[in-house]
Symmetry: C2
Subunit: 265 residues, 2 copies
């Protein structure tokens, strides 16, 4: 059994494109509908109620494109709203927290895991809960890094300011001798180089994008929902604000050209 | 003739509270309704169409409180949307650009004025146009400083990171030998100390909040709309996201306690 409907992905802005990149690698012939809520970005400083309301609206938009699976490619929305969203919609929905937690648990050797994310993601304790569900004896050290998103959006992925900010934020996590650091925000893979330098080469950086793509593949496969087509999938991009800034910053995340993004609302 | 209706003020978030502070000084017995659009903050990275749509909705909310004057206490919304808003509503509306430009023109001695603001404010050229309307021979040097808002919201008003960012952003403006710098965003007065140190003591920093309050007083006075009450005005605060974060950060801007802020939508 196959299913030619597209996969739907949303994020508050461009960050979720790191997940699109991995889907493209693992599921190259799937069609994708991406929605970036650029009129209301960021989510990471906002409340559960607000993020949930926005997420419901985003999925309603994706549903107008008849998607067969929804990926909440935003750590904040996954942290605050996933359970509610799963109760609201019949389409299968996956977030980025569980896959990231699983990956971290599979790579840690000393069972000490750091997590960095937005204020909302860190306050929610979502990663900590997900890791403890897998193994209650693991130690988790969370750290909010609210300036990382604006630094990435400014294009300062690797300058002296970003290095200084990284050192300040990561100091408490480093002191805890973690051997694994979850990049709990889809913007953070852009900072991998500097995060790696500051944490040291023995610390594994976990970016949940790849695990999310694997989970999407498993769900589609199990449900007979994979696209049977042999040709390359079409990716369509929609945003809630004007598309030019999204395209410009998005190409850095996706590492390829975005031919067209449309305003959706 | 007097008018006991409140003044309405909106901003994308907490920044407009710097204007509230000056209104309180100059018009102590006026009632105020403040609306901070904290669910959709920031505006400075968004398009004219989106910022205008949000601004219309914000004024519609203020109108439900029967305000006699609207202050657009957000540089981005003033830059992109003020003309449209004035055509949409019958209530008098003032922005922050013209007052800031007037103040800068009145203090410069060498007729070289720097302007710092969000991406949207700087791209709009609004300050440049306002200054040139007052005197076309003035030279204006604009500089977008997108990291200043997140740095202020992180509470890093005066650390080594903020100093390094300030030096990078202000270097081109300093090279132009301006003697006046317009702080074209309501968040920036919080950075006055560091901006003053980097620009040097001979450069005057213009914060439009005081000029805006003066313009409000003139308009109310001219229209017979001043509040005749002898008692201290009541200030009420509304936000579109949950109020706690607004109250916590807002107290830094207002330099006094905010007893209560309510969620408006």
């Amino acid at each position: 059994m196959t299913d030619a409907r597209p996969i739907g992905i949303f994020d508050s802005g461009v960050g979720g494109l790191t997940v699109v990149g991995k889907i493209q690698e693992l599921l190259p012939n799937e069609d994708l509908i991406y929605f970036g809520d650029t009129a209301r970005v960021p989510y990471g400083t906002k409340s559960e109620e607000t993020v949930t309301k926005f997420s419901v609206e985003n999925i309603e938009f994706l549903m107008t494109h008849n998607v067969k699976l929804v990926i909440v490619a935003c750590n904040t929305a996954s942290s605050l709203s996933l359970d509610f969203l799963k109760r609201c919609f019949r389409v299968p929905i996956i977030g980025v927290i569980e896959p990231g937690a699983r990956e971290a648990v599979s790579v840690t050797r000393n069972n000490r895991i750091g997590v960095i994310g937005t204020n909302a993601t860190i306050s929610s304790g979502a990663y900590e809960k997900a890791i403890k569900r897998l193994n209650p004896r693991y130690s988790v050290f969370p750290q909010a890094c609210p300036l990382f998103v604006p630094l990435v959006e400014e294009g300062w992925a690797d300058n002296k300011v970003t290095k200084a900010v990284t050192e300040i934020y990561l100091e408490p996590v480093r002191k805890r001798s973690v051997d694994t650091l979850i990049l709990g925000c889809t913007h953070y893979p852009i900072l991998k180089k500097i995060l790696g330098r500051v944490m040291g080469k023995d610390v594994v950086l976990v970016d949940s994008a790849r695990e999310v793509a694997k989970e999407a593949r498993e769900i589609l496969d199990a449900g007979g929902l994979l696209n049977g087509s042999k040709s390359k999938g079409k990716h369509r991009f929609f945003v809630s604000d004007e598309p030019n800034r999204f395209v410009r910053i998005g190409e850095r995340f996706l590492n390829r050209r975005i031919d067209c993004a449309k305003r959706a609302v």
